[in-house]
Amino acid sequence: MVEFAGWDMPVQYAGLIAEHKAVRESAGVFDVSHMGEIAISGTDAATYLNHVLTNDVARLRKGRSHYTLICNEAGGVLDDAMLYRLDETAYLLVVNAGNAEAGWDWLRAQTGEFSPTLANVSERYSLLAVQGPRAEELLDPATGLDLAKLRRTRIRPTTVFGHEVLIGRTGYTGEDGVEIFAAPEDTGSIWEGILALDIAPAGLGARNTLRLEAGMALHGHELGLDINPIEAGLTRVVAMEKGPFIGRDSLAKVLEAGPTRRLRGLTLTERAVPRDGHPVTTTHGPGVITSGTFSPTLEAGIAMSFVPPECEIGDAVTVNIRDRDRGATLVDTPFFSNVTRWRAKSK
């Protein structure tokens, strides 16, 4: 167990690689109750959210979710989040534990001309993520709905082992799977029930290696106040066309001038493990690793890195690891993901 943002967090159960492989090959369950939840409702909830978030809330249909960012005026990223539209005018924003209080304060301070009802409901929800190619099949009998019909990004109220929950077909692993929002008092019994379905408990260590293989950003590493979404490769969730929103003017300038650095994946060509902060050398100038690990799936060192924008996929670079330059290649991300495979299957 480790302490993280005031929570005691399990880093690993059976061992990181075993848990990682369980999620890639079968199914695993993560207790991510540390994530913060903010409820936003009211007739102008959508217009308010379009003011404080970068993605276009008007395009989010009822019962669906999308990935979005909270930016400041300078275009820095206060937090990244999942926004679920629960009803016509009711939304649930899931934010990172480390930023939950700051995000909550920020969102309340930005209501301005809008009058949404905001509630910090983090204490009302625990969150269990069941992820992996067999998640649907193994969990389905315990749920009050036909999981096969809950398509990617959808969220529905239902039951798990008889307890009222919200189930979203979302995740942070590059796998098919669901996330279960439950009442804290029901979570122990739901957790035990899920383990009894032959779904392996997985910890924060595996969560990090899985999200990194899937090329997903982690705030504090690939995102932060000094990082804008354009250079982080997240232009797709910055809806410039939707009209004014906090950070838009700054981001318009970045888009016009082009980013001064780009987030790129890299794979080590030697046996070594890149880590956060290791310097990168490219033919176009220096870069730096933002997150790195040993990929249990690819059995190689992988990392996300900021490099000069002139660098191209396929470029040979070096990573300085403990005073030795190690060979690496810039690659497309995700490094590995089963979600595309799952999408193809569900069509």
């Binding site: 070594a272 493990v273 403990r322």
Partner: protein, 128 residues
């Protein structure tokens, strides 16, 4: 957990002393703390190592840990098996997971090592 015939360091290495040649690895506690070992970086045969200086590193998925030379001497052998099977460090830390052999310069340095009981005391302290 901590075989009596071995000597230990505060840096969680074990040493099997055989005359002037010592075999070195990391303890069951160290491999457990590191988790799945994926890469062991070792010096070359013939390299000189100095007591308390880093001479290599153990990478697990989640972290990297320096290896500190428990004794001063010259590297006489490496465990080549670890290149292809670094997980031996987890599976058999005192056997197939050994790392290097060193020929000692000065056997007097052996007196600074801990015995199994002292090392176990240290681990219990760290775990409590």
């Amino acid at each position: 957990m901590y075989p009596d015939e071995l000597s230990y360091t505060r840096e969680h290495e074990w040493i099997r002393v055989d005359g002037e040649e010592c075999t070195i690895g990391i303890t069951a506690y160290a491999q457990d703390e590191l988790g799945d070992v994926v890469y062991v970086e070792l010096p070359a045969v013939g390299a000189a190592v100095t007591r308390n200086d880093p001479f290599g590193a153990v990478e697990s998925v989640k972290a990297v840990s320096d290896l500190f030379a428990p004794l001063t001497g010259e590297v006489t052998a490496l465990n080549d098996e670890l290149d292809a099977a670094p997980e031996l460090v987890n599976k058999d830390p005192y056997g197939a997971g050994w790392m290097v052999k060193i020929r000692l310069n000065d056997t007097d340095e052996l007196a600074a090592l801990m015995d199994a009981a002292a090392y176990e005391g240290l681990v219990n302290e760290l775990r409590s």
